[in-house]
């Protein structure tokens, strides 16, 4: 893409009346002169670009960052534009699956609010000017041995950047690199130091764990290692005929998490009580500690957990979360060591200086040039008054995808290329490196961090490609090119994963008596769909329902029903939350699972300079922090007004026949396998057993952790539009696949998740009611929707017992888009194999019929039947826990046939006799029989 240089003066504040008129006149002249159609030439390829066949998508392996760490992906590109991200099975942080952030990157790439040009003091500037100014400054700095040159980044893991930083340090001895991660778990770092005398990286191997105990920890929640944790957890809990083994998860939590939702036992406790429980657990395992007396019920619980852990030595592990004190983390280390827990320890290779040191230097006026890249302290640490401090630095350069809050404070701004349009490299959380390769020419005139650092180091006009290759040049010896090609093809570099270390004997921490704080406490969490806030301008993520609240477009203050009743607060009320004079407003969400006087709130919302989508959505919980705390005590709350909570699901309690909607079984009390008796029918029943295929899906509710990867994958694959908060408030959610969350009967803050796509009923209630035959069956029994035949009577959705059909009340994707989603560049993300639906038309899940069709074409070309597993729906391939199986019921060897015979198999609303093709495996829990309430 090229950008012509505008012959007109830049539009600044200094536009006088006279020059405005001049511009107007020039415009009129241009319009008159420019009448008629622009001259365009179209030419066929003279020389066909290698591999590029019109209509045939290409796939490339790459890596996408989350929290600085990479997850391997395979990107699908159609005629030069990336449209879909899938997992890379070879990559250790992907294992073939994705998370919602990886899926959502496609939209971020085409975000019209992305920064497109270099700017000085907010005005468009040329790179040449930047280079001139920077070169002069660097000369001065060089003369002073590099004193005053500073780099501030977010969490990064790129070997190339590390190499460049090391090189800069050599060239400028006074140079320092500072790292700022708003989601840093300070407790974990200090806890490791307490236990082992050094900082460590801890990677739990949930697949090897039979007993998992969490203390306010959320291993299944969002993060760069979520996919691996989820996969391991689910693998250990897959109950099939013949393998009834299942791990057991105890969650000690003060606020609800996804992990707690999936637990076999969840104990809602105040944070200090959780610490006390951890102490009691350590004591029970033989630690010489003096701890507080626990309440009797809790003591009996801990005793049972101790026994369970001791019985499973080598397969039991304990995890502490960021809101717990470092001592609890240290205790967890001791317990894990004592239990020989399946945990990998790695050396933490953090050579960067912390942010506060940089701030001190800024205050002292010691910084003469500062490059800020990939981090947004002005937003996520407002208590530090970055604005005042940056003013003391004569040369500040912001580098990022957006002109965000921090960019506004810097003299220069350089746009960053999106990871899908630049070369690079990243390490996974376990240190495995992989390459980042571009799927598209950069959309705008951007510079990567590697290029900027190269310029700092004195090399101009360096290409990312060369910089990355230099880093890895030593690999493969003379066969570097072969090595390089293989690394790109595989999307992972093997043999470069750092070895695990034996951290030595874990020391028991000295316990400080837990503060008997009874004041309201607030527990902060990363947002399940926006993470640290850097994704705030992604409309897909804003509209993705949070797993436990189903809230969209903003965060909510979670509070227990008892507290709400005490404070006379109702769901949806706006609450002012203040800590030491720092105050924010958020709507309330009353939810079971919060300990008394403990509230929860997600970080990552309330951006002010995110872009048209993300600005002003939600409350900025970062504003309550003073220095990276995850737990805030002495929180004052009072009723206020002005905020609205938006959600896609209102009722979480099953008022209906649980057996038909969301059955839950204890592992010890699984139901007898049902022999499905054919129900009588007055109508002739069509027999699909002779059809080429009888597509079916089986969803395992036990495995589903509600992570939303499938929801996003479906949205990306099927061009599902975003409708915006106002339309959500009118309950017009468009997601083809939704994840229903239902509270378990035990009312202890546990939830079950049930992904609901179209059931593809064989006797579909939507079909006979359509007056124009827009809802019909195809030869394979798939329930298909003919968009251009649909006139929008909506009788089909009225008659759908599952309410899975979605209606275009407005032209959400076709002329009446939300906010900036109508921008021309946005059209690039659409999947060309899926129709973009017009206003007034009903749509729904198609089982990714375009993928079935592609597989069928491929099979027919080779004159063979479609193989089992050849068609993978978007939701299926995204799922980190492999909760979704898809296949052909007419093939006896297919996975779905086997799954349909499992004893926990059920159909949603089976008594309606809709004969759904999508069926479920019930949620199975594995309660400890020694504990009361061991009901699943």
């Amino acid at each position: 893409m090229t950008h012509e240089v505008s012959p007109l003066p830049p539009l600044g504040s200094a536009l006088s009346r006279r020059s405005a008129l001049k511009l107007l006149a020039a415009n009129i002249a241009l319009i008159t002169a420019g009448c008629g159609k622009p001259r365009e030439e179209i030419l066929p390829y003279v020389k066909m670009p290698e591999r590029l066949m019109p209509g045939i998508p290409l796939q490339f392996a790459s890596t996408l960052p989350l929290g600085g760490y990479g997850r391997g992906v395979v990107c699908t590109s159609v005629e030069g534009r990336p449209i879909k991200v899938s997992g890379n099975p070879l990559h250790p942080a992907s294992l073939g699956a994705t998370d919602l952030f990886a899926e959502a990157h496609v939209l971020s790439l085409y975000d019209p609010d992305r920064s497109t040009t270099c700017r000085r003091d907010g005005q468009i500037a040329a790179y040449v000017d930047l280079e001139t100014e920077l070169a002069a400054r660097l000369d001065k700095i060089k003369a002073k041995n590099g004193e005053g040159l500073r780099l501030l980044t977010g969490p990064i893991s790129s070997p190339t950047i590390f190499r460049q930083i090391a090189a800069l340090k050599e060239k400028y001895p006074g140079f320092a690199w500072h790292r700022h991660d708003p989601l840093e778990d300070g407790s974990a770092r200090r806890g490791a130091t307490l236990a082992f005398g050094q900082e460590l990286k801890i990677l739990p191997r949930l697949a090897d764990a039979d007993v998992i105990v969490t203390f306010d920890s959320d291993p299944l929640g969002s993060g760069p290692w979520q996919i691996v944790n989820a996969e391991g957890f689910a693998r250990r809990r897959r109950v099939r005929s013949g393998s009834k083994a299942m791990s057991r998860l105890y969650a000690f939590e003060s606020v609800p998490t996804v992990t707690g939702a999936k637990a076999d036992h969840r104990f809602t406790l105040a944070p200090d009580q959780i610490g006390a429980a951890a102490v009691a657990l350590a004591q029970g395992l033989g630690a010489n500690l003096s701890g507080r007396e626990l309440p009797v019920e809790l003591q009996s619980v801990v005793t049972a957990v101790v026994k369970d852990c001791s019985d499973n030595k080598g397969h039991a592990l304990v995890l502490a979360g960021p809101s717990q004190a470092p001592e609890v983390h240290a205790l967890a280390h001791w317990i894990n060591q004592h239990l020989a827990a399946p945990i990998t320890h790695q050396a933490a290779s953090n050579t960067a200086e912390p942010l506060h040191k940089l701030l001190a230097e800024l205050d002292a006026g010691e910084v003469s040039a500062l490059l800020i890249s990939g981090t947004n302290p002005a937003y996520d640490t407002p208590a530090l008054r970055i604005a005042d401090r940056l003013r003391r630095c004569p040369f500040t350069l912001h580098h990022g995808l957006y002109r965000d809050e921090t960019a506004a404070l810097c003299r220069w701004h350089v746009p960053e290329p999106h990871p899908l349009e630049s070369w690079g490299d990243l390490r996974a959380l376990d240190g495995t490196p992989s390459l980042v390769q571009p799927l598209i020419e950069p959309l705008y005139d951007t510079r990567s961090l590697a290029q900027l650092l190269a310029f700092f180091a004195g090399a101009t006009d360096m290409k990312d490609y060369d910089l990355v290759r230099t880093t890895w040049a030593a690999q493969g010896g003379t066969g570097f090119e072969t090595w390089w090609r293989k690394a790109l093809e595989d999307g992972v570099i093997v043999g470069k994963t750092p070895a695990s270390i034996q951290p030595g004997e874990a020391r028991l921490p000295t316990l400080v008596p837990g503060s008997k704080a009874t004041s309201p406490t607030l527990i902060l969490r990363p947002d399940p769909t926006l993470y640290d806030g850097s994704f705030a301008n992604n409309a897909w993520l804003q509209e993705c329902p949070k797993p436990l609240t189903k809230g969209v477009w903003g965060n909510t203050l979670g509070i227990s029903p008892d507290d709400a009743a005490k404070l006379e607060i109702e769901d949806g009320d706006t609450i002012s939350i203040s800590v030491e004079g720092r105050e924010i407003l958020a709507p309330v969400r009353v939810q079971e699972g919060h300990a008394p006087s403990v509230m929860s709130l997600a970080l990552g919302n309330g951006r002010v300079a995110a872009g048209e989508i993300g600005n002003g959505v939600g409350a900025n919980a970062f504003a309550l922090r003073s220095a990276g705390e995850w737990r805030l005590d002495n929180v004052a709350i009072r009723k206020a007004s002005g905020r609205t909570a938006y959600s896609t699901q209102k009722l979480f309690v099953i008022d209906g026949d649980r057996e038909e909607i969301f059955p839950v079984y204890a592992l010890a009390h699984l139901p007898a396998a049902k022999s499905e008796l054919p129900k009588p029918s007055l109508l002739p029943v069509h027999d699909y057993s002779q059809a080429d295929a009888r597509w079916a899906m089986v969803v395992d509710n036990t495995s589903c952790i509600g992570c939303n990867a499938c929801v996003l994958a479906c949205q990306v694959e099927n061009n599902v539009p975003v409708i915006g908060p106002e339309e959500i408030a009118r309950n017009r959610d468009m997601h083809w696949l939704r994840i229903d969350a239902y509270a378990l009967d035990s009312d202890d803050g546990r939830f079950g998740f049930e992904p609901v796509p179209c059931m593809q009923c064989e006797t579909a209630p939507c079909e006979p009611v359509c007056p124009v035959e827009a809802s019909v069956h195809d030869s394979e029994g798939l329930n298909v929707q003919v968009y251009n035949r649909c006139i929008g009577t909506r009788f089909c959705e009225a008659n759908c017992p599952y309410k899975v059909r979605r209606f275009n009340f407005f032209g959400y994707a076709d002329g009446q888009e939300y906010a900036n989603l109508a921008a021309e560049v946005m059209h690039l993300h659409n999947n060309p194999d899926v129709t973009v639906r017009a206003r007034g038309v009903m749509e729904k899940c198609t089982y990714c019929v375009q993928r079935i069709s592609a597989a069928r074409r491929g099979a027919e070309k080779e004159m063979r039947p479609i193989r089992d597993g050849e068609v993978r729906t978007a939701c299926q391939s995204a799922c980190p826990t492999q909760a979704i199986a898809f296949g052909n019921l007419n093939r006896q060897d297919s996975a779905v046939v086997r799954l349909r015979e499992e004893q926990q198999h059920f159909s949603l609303l089976e008594s309606l006799n809709t004969k759904p093709r999508t069926t479920y495996l019930a949620d199975i829990r594995n309660p400890n029989p020694a504990l009361p309430e061991s009901r699943g």
């Binding site: 017009r732 007056p771 649909c790 009446q816």
Partner: protein
């Protein structure tokens, strides 16, 4: 109900001193004369803002899309369908009065059948708009008709909506024919009394050369009775099929075999309530106290009393079968009706439709116009509530708790609820101004019979 069979004074409908000339003058003069039209003009001016609002709302609907209704993913139907059922219900009474009462020889119908039929015409026409403007793509509504398209696609005949299409269409066409048939002798009267040539031309064309010969009368009577016989099944079918829109489904609270008869009675119920209201207004507006008498109101009140009992019984049957059937979804729905988000509306529904009409057990109440009038307004409101609650309760309280959402009304909803009422009044005013609101020849016939 043999109100007129004897010559008993108490059962006479018309005053003793009516003559044919007086009847004709009372009804035709307001059409021919140009004097004292200020009341008419005031009424027209009052209706115009409603008509304007309706046009604006329809325009907005076509420009911005069907999303301007308050409907949502769960409650995919809303005001449009409720209004449609309500208007069709009102439209039911006109033809019912003309046909069923003609066949059962109820002479009191003579005074009210003409405007009741006009009411049918207008309300069915208005009702017919709603299914179209409720469509996501209203421009393609004609796909419900089996026209020879190049795609050779036909409507899907199992869908109740296709039956609906035919039911409304045939009912509307039939109603026009029936209304026009009754108008022919009166058009001839007006042709003969017309003061200006355009009026004469207009009614002359409508009269189709009616000369009042015995042959004409004989053919007319025969055709009228035949059409009345044809009308009765149509009257029942149109609202039965509307009932099937709901009953031929899988949703709790909808899939009930009681729906077709229950809808027909409900339609008659609200239709009579509307006739009462129109009778009152016409009687007042055109000084027709002699021809629309308290005895008419008495008779209509009795019919409404009967209908209210049937409605009460139907509601009770619904609750009983839900409980007795034992389905969780059905029982939950009934509980939701009484205690859920729309409970207040539901209690009002029962009050208006079942409780209040019980005053009609007393003759004194039946013969007090204001009581009949107010109860009728209550019935109209109650019946509209019934229709909207059938939709809101079932769709909102569906099988899966996760998809239970409430309905949030929009400006379009309210405008297209209120606006068409004004439009209806506007059409009716035009009718009252340009056509004989009461069938002159039938009232003359009645007078002759009574004085015999």
């Amino acid at each position: 109900m043999s109100l007129v069979q004897s010559a008993d004074e108490d059962l006479r409908l018309l005053p003793r001193d009516v003559t044919d000339a007086r009847i004709t003058a009372a009804i035709s003069d307001p059409i021919i004369d140009k004097r004292s039209r200020w009341r008419w003009w005031i009424a027209v001016v009052i209706t115009l803002p409603f008509v304007g609002a309706m046009i604006v709302a329809l325009f907005g609907l076509f420009v911005f899309g069907v999303g301007t209704w308050g409907i949502n993913t769960t409650n995919v139907w809303g005001f449009a369908i409720a209004n449609y059922v309500w208007w069709i219900g009102i439209g039911n009474a006109g033809t019912l009065i003309s046909s069923l009462l003609l066949l059962t020889r109820q002479p009191w119908r003579a005074s009210i059948n003409r405007f009741a039929e006009a009411m049918t015409l207008f309300s069915v026409s208005i009702a017919g708009i709603f299914p179209i403007i409720h469509l996501g793509r209203p421009q393609y509504f004609y796909w419900l008709a089996p026209y020879p398209s190049t795609m050779t696609v036909w409507p899907q005949w199992r869908s109740a909506l296709v039956w609906d299409f035919w039911a409304i269409l045939s009912y509307l066409l039939f109603s026009i024919l029936f209304w026009y048939l009754g108008l022919i002798p009166d058009a001839a009267t007006l042709r003969d009394r017309a003061a200006t040539w355009p009026t004469r031309l207009f009614f002359g064309a409508l009269a189709l050369g009616w000369r009042g010969s015995a042959l004409h009368w004989r053919a007319h009577k025969k055709l009228q009775i035949t059409m009345a016989a044809l009308a009765v099944p149509l009257v029942c079918s149109v609202h039965s099929i509307v009932g099937l829109d709901f009953a031929a489904s899988l949703m709790p609270g909808w899939q009930e075999p009681i729906f077709p008869p229950y809808f027909v009675v409900g339609a008659m119920y609200s239709g009579f309530a509307m006739v009462v209201i129109l009778s009152t207004l016409i009687r007042f507006g055109l000084h027709l106290e002699d021809y629309v008498t308290t005895k008419h109101f008495d008779a209509m009140a009795l019919i409404m009393l009967m209908a209210s009992l049937v409605m009460g019984l139907s509601y009770g049957t619904e609750w009983f079968t839900s409980w007795y059937g034992g389905e969780h979804a059905d029982r939950g729905l009934v509980a939701f009706e009484f205690t859920g988000h729309y409970d207040v509306l539901f209690w009002f529904l029962l009050l208006f439709n079942v409780v209040l009409p019980q005053v009609f057990w007393w003759k004194a109440a039946r013969r007090r116009l204001w009581i009949v009038f107010l109860v009728s307004i209550g019935i109209l409101i109650g019946m509209w509530l019934e229709r909207i609650l059938i939709i809101w309760n079932t769709l909102g309280h569906n099988y899966l708790p996760s998809m239970r959402h409430i309905f949030i009304t929009s400006l379009t909803d309210w405008t297209l609820l209120i606006g068409p009422l004004g439009f209806f009044a506007f059409l009716f005013l035009l009718f009252a101004r340009f056509f004989p609101v009461i069938s002159m020849y039938e009232v003359r016939e009645l007078a002759a019979e009574e004085s015999r």
